[in-house]
Subunit: 253 residues, 2 copies
Amino acid sequence: MLNNVRVILSHTSHPGNVGAAARAMKTMGLTNLYLVNPRFFPDVQATTMAVGADDVLENAVVCASLDEALQGVVMVAGMSARVRGISQEVLAPREAMPLLMQHASHPVALLFGTEMSGLTNEELARCQLMVRIPVNPDYTSLNLAAAVQLLSYELRLAADLGDCGAPEGGALASAEHVESFFQQMEETLTKIEFLHGKHATKLMLKLRRLYARARLEADEVNILRGILTLTTKYHGELKQSVKAKEVENVQSD
Amino acid sequence: MLNNVRVILSHTSHPGNVGAAARAMKTMGLTNLYLVNPRFFPDVQATTMAVGADDVLENAVVCASLDEALQGVVMVAGMSARVRGISQEVLAPREAMPLLMQHASHPVALLFGTEMSGLTNEELARCQLMVRIPVNPDYTSLNLAAAVQLLSYELRLAADLGDCGAPEGGALASAEHVESFFQQMEETLTKIEFLHGKHATKLMLKLRRLYARARLEADEVNILRGILTLTTKYHGELKQSVKAKEVENVQSD
């Protein structure tokens, strides 16, 4: 579906922005860049900023007019940074991008105006959706490539490609595995006299809650049990050694 | 709430990225920039790229270590670009940023690694949340400032949406409190001979991950430290008693 999305940059002044926009698009899986009357293109600065997204630049379609760039497009979402005279509903990216994706079985477009002044009224009139990125009202200076990045990201999420990869963790420990760990912990903590008296129950509950929250993996339960085993093993050995000495002492007395 | 968010950039190589990151932050209403050992800073390229976000650069806190940058921070979300050996759950920005905002009545942090290699394992071990921006698997080259832009945007949405219910548990432990716990744990586990040989470092990292994931509360750190203290105290006493007996034996021989 993302293959049907065109990113149209109108009358860009800075070739570096075109390159950075290409890179931003490609990270989100967008590849169709259209340039309406770019001031400089192709340009070495654009290539430098594209860092490995040169294919997007090479395949960019340079157009003499917006009409040309919109050929075959069924829906246009225009980026608007400012409130304008023309009344039209303005949507947040999170609302607008799913709407755009709904139509992306045919060509659809994201339209960005110049770095300085955004879209003209004529360009806005071609948009079925107006999108505004929520920004700090005291500092609205969103870079063109940054705006492309944010909308491409929202498009990727809207296309259901928002999965950030399978979780890395190992297999979760089974309930009985975790329970056996808690049993051993209680025994050990009693033995080292951490648990005693009226607070024992409450402390064990707190510890259970802590480890429950961590959602322990099987591997981790084994590590924790290993620690407990060594704690008591060492204690046991030392105690035996103390006792043995006591016996010896009694015998040698 | 956004005032309590720190953006921490670790070991940046390119000053232009620092400036672009400052601009990205400010458009979303974030102002607290922390730089851990930046290669060049301050730098004219940073200022050029900041375009009106110079105040963010001027107020940036340059730190000699991550510890310094995390002083007082109760929750750290680390940006991870790659799958790594050690298991930890990775969240999408849309899931992770509301979690971070839930705790932003105290200082919280977004942590970004170097442009080339991302966060080190040691840095990741300091994070309670791991965040991965969903990207095109065939081209993952997200610019540092673009990543800052996307996460700042999600933070802004998370802050504006107001669906940040109060966290359920008690007050989270500060970074230095948790760190002191880890130090004590390492000492104790070495003493009881759980940590030894070539697996020691990896085991400690695994344990750090586990507890980081649990997002420890101050109260819980105190309980865990209490357990560690008793573990070694008991060992110490038993050892002394063994030694005392040995001395007695020698004397009575």
